[in-house]
């Protein structure tokens, strides 16, 4: 068993790590080559597996790449909810939303959160922000309310896995450039606030937590008979977490393993730190319970591949 033995696993991930850590100066210069809009105060002494990736990406702008990837997913989600709430872009959903104020308010809340994420990431990236894609195609998801909710669950769970997959790629000390401000618009009311100096990893994980709240709520909605379909399977027995790798009608790749599968296992993974947690803890747990207790990360190539069906580049 390895049980997250820090140094042992570090060496396994990167056999040359000892050599690299001996040369803190070169590590600093490799890490320092980033977007001018994002500043690194200093490199942490040890950043584990992420160290390897950051160095391997060479002369690009790894942090801006990570944030632009997050921005693409947030734009997709923001567009998904924005269009769903408009009769002109999602006519099949109009009756459902106009007839249920509670549902409409909740989906508007999620939309507002996604719009705020887009605004924040765009502001943090500044001139390094990528252009928005030409468009999105959600026709397959807007056919009725249950289908809309099924895909909403897929996008939220995918977002949660995507952020988790990047957590190790963001330096703990990266901050948003001074004098950066974000403007958020809710119901036509705009407000501007400074985000200069904000810790990028912390902000990314705050977004990640919000997405997980959304994901739990969408499952809560789907659990209710009024929103269920035959295709959604046994969602009635599930709560806000992912049991095994059950998507309950959502696309299976959202819950499957990424690449490499050892780093990005499927959501039904029951091993953490080299231990099978169903049998190797003091008490015995079912595979369902253990899989629910941990959300698994997913690599960007797999996430992009899943999302690409909805994006017009």
């Amino acid at each position: 068993m390895n049980l997250f033995k820090i140094l042992a696993e570090l060496e396994q991930v990167d056999p040359e790590v000892a050599d690299r850590l001996n040369s803190r100066r070169s590590a600093l210069s490799a890490l320092g080559n980033i977007s001018k809009k994002i500043t690194l105060a200093s490199a942490p002494a040890i950043i584990g597996a992420a160290f390897n990736k950051t160095l391997a990406q060479g002369t690009g702008s790894p942090l801006a790449d990570v944030l632009n990837y997050a921005l693409l997913l947030e734009r997709l989600e923001a567009a998904y909810y924005t269009r769903a709430l408009q009769a002109s872009t999602a006519p099949a959903l109009a009756t459902a939303f106009s007839g249920n104020a509670t549902l409409r308010t909740a989906i508007e809340k999620i939309r507002d959160n996604e719009n705020a994420h887009v605004a924040l990431l765009t502001a943090a990236l500044g001139s390094a922000a990528a252009a928005a894609p030409t468009g999105f195609n959600f026709a397959a998801a807007y056919t009725d309310l249950p289908t809309f909710l099924t895909f909403a669950q897929a996008f939220e769970d995918l977002g949660v896995r995507a952020y988790k997959g990047q957590a190790g790629n963001i330096s703990r000390t990266a901050t948003v450039a001074a004098n950066t401000s974000v403007t958020v618009t809710n119901a036509g009311q705009s407000s501007t606030a400074s985000i200069g100096g904000a810790n990028v990893l912390q902000v990314a994980l705050q977004i990640h937590a919000t997405e997980a709240r959304h994901a739990a709520y969408i499952r809560y909605l789907r659990r209710q008979a009024a929103y269920a379909t035959a295709a959604s399977g046994s969602i009635g027995n599930q709560f806000g977490w992912i049991t095994g790798k059950a998507g309950n009608g959502a696309p299976a790749p959202v819950y499957d393993a990424g690449n490499p599968a050892t780093t990005f296992p499927a959501e039904d993974n029951v091993s953490q730190g080299g231990l099978n947690l169903t049998s190797q803890l003091a008490a015995t747990y079912t595979a369902a319970e253990v899989s629910e207790a941990f959300d698994e990360p997913l690599d960007s190539a797999t996430v992009r591949s899943i999302a690409s069906g909805f994006i017009i580049p």
Partner: protein
């Protein structure tokens, strides 16, 4: 069953002995010796002070996990009759997830040569500020601790120096947020991301609330009274 083993929590230590254990602040002991007047013995607040580095951060999470797990153990041992089947399903799931998290944290600390804080026994946790005999009281308590935990995780990520531990940390973190949202929706449907935990405007718009260890421990100390929890040497950046 996990319920049955709740009292196998990693500390069976009495308050009497906790001062002698690792992780307890030397500060309160110093306070004792600093007072020269034998006539007026100083009032010493028992304090658990966290150590530095990843050991301290993991112990910080461990404390949160212990307080939350014990709450669910208590509630599920004698659940209020008005809890619905869905309520009980959610509470049982969260209890088991938390139990798994707590045990894994403890094993991880042990495997890395860290000392798990044993400064207070689970039996002495104090939930008196909540009415655990009613549905609303139970959901209030569970939601408060779940929201506190998510905010704590948001603030603690950058304090971990090991990338290996960060990967484990984020796997648990999203599940904590799912717990908080599920509990909120049991209590008030649609409140999964209400503005008290995810602001709608300003610099924190769309972001889950974040709390520093000092803010979290001040709140958590209400459950460990009279023992006060202190950040001690926890990393600050």
């Amino acid at each position: 069953m996990p319920e049955a083993s709740s009292s196998t929590a990693p500390s069976g230590l009495s308050r009497r002995t906790f001062l002698t254990h690792t992780g307890v602040a030397a500060a309160s002991l110093l306070l004792l010796t600093a007072c020269p007047d034998p006539e007026t013995p100083p009032v010493v607040t028992p304090t658990i002070s966290l150590t530095g580095g990843d050991e301290g951060v993991l112990n910080y999470l461990f404390l949160l996990e212990r307080v939350a797990t014990e709450l669910y153990a208590k509630v599920l041992a004698t659940p209020p009759a008005e809890l619905t089947a869905a309520d009980l399903g959610v509470l049982r799931d969260i209890y088991r997830h938390n139990f798994i998290h707590r045990e894994l944290l403890q094993l991880t600390m042990s495997a890395n040569g860290f000392t798990a804080n044993a400064g207070i026994s689970a039996q002495s946790f104090d939930y008196a500020s909540f009415t655990l005999t009613t549905r609303l009281g139970v959901l209030n308590a569970a939601q408060s601790l779940a929201d506190l935990t998510v905010a704590a995780y948001c603030g603690a990520a950058r304090l971990l120096s090991s990338g290996v531990l960060l990967r484990l940390f984020v796997k648990m973190m999203a599940v904590k947020a799912r717990h908080a949202a599920a509990l909120r929706d049991l209590r008030t449907p649609g409140s999964f991301a209400a503005t008290d935990v995810v602001p709608q405007t300003g610099a924190e718009a769309g972001l889950n609330q974040v709390l520093t260890p000092a803010e979290v421990l001040a709140e958590l100390s209400k459950f460990t009274s009279p023992v006060q929890l202190s950040v001690g040497s926890l990393p600050t950046s």
